[in-house]
Amino acid sequence: MLAGWVKFIIFDKTATALSMANNVIDPNLWVDKYSDYLYNYTIVRVNDSEIAKDLISETFLAGLKSKDNFKGEASERTWLISILKRKIIDHYRKINSNKGKAEVRITHDDSETEGDWLEQRVASKSDKNAQDQIENTELGMAIFDCLGNLPQKQAEIFRKKTIENHDTEAICNAYDITPSNLWVIIHRARKSMAECLESNWF
């Protein structure tokens, strides 16, 4: 009885050690697995696609440098997000270090708005506000989150077909499958994507 418990405890320990070892990092897959997720996270925070891409590549490089410090306690993606957060903060520090830019300037020489009252230049209420923006970015993250839960082949094919709009024929040739195979894969992927989004987003 006691021996059984001891065995169980030892087994349990090795099991947790194994599962912690499962959180290893493989930089070769980063771009495929996380770049879109990180991009959706970044774009709403910096609002510029070029800067977002730069920040992501900086994040990957920083991750590469400090990958020996990765303890495997968090998932790879959480770890990358935490690096990215610091990069975004650094970005804002950098652009704000020049204090002169912080002052508000109202220019009056815009020919289109010349003569308008200031009140007329305020954005109308029906425009998208920050809240809408955040909600919509969360949608992007939710989609890539769900995509990450699919089996790899399904996710790849779904991605190619739905997001990148490749031809059915091209995908069939690339993966060496028949069109009916493809549609079965698409059907399964769509079904689990819809379920996943249903619980996470809609």
Partner: protein, 81 residues
């Protein structure tokens, strides 16, 4: 009449195809008839459409393949150092 009737499996297949605008008119017509009486397929079609709408949302962004390759290359170079 038998030409008009669809099995649910076929109906779902047509529904998937129509999400990519690849279903023919006749197929869509038969799907519509099927949806008149089949609850399960109505449900599937609704959620399928929702998914398509979400993906076509302009705020849903992804990195272009070209930029991804550039990122990959950069990473590979750093790895091989």
């Amino acid at each position: 009449m038998s030409q008009l009737k669809l099995k649910c499996q076929e109906a779902n297949h047509i529904c998937d195809k129509s999400q990519y605008k690849e279903a023919s008119f006749w197929e869509k017509f038969r799907l519509t008839i099927h949806l008149l009486y089949c609850r399960a397929c109505q449900k599937y079609t609704a959620s399928n459409k929702k998914l398509t709408e979400a993906i076509h949302d302009p705020k849903f962004v992804s990195i272009a393949e070209k930029d991804k390759q550039a990122l990959k290359k950069q990473l590979q170079e750093e790895l091989s150092k």
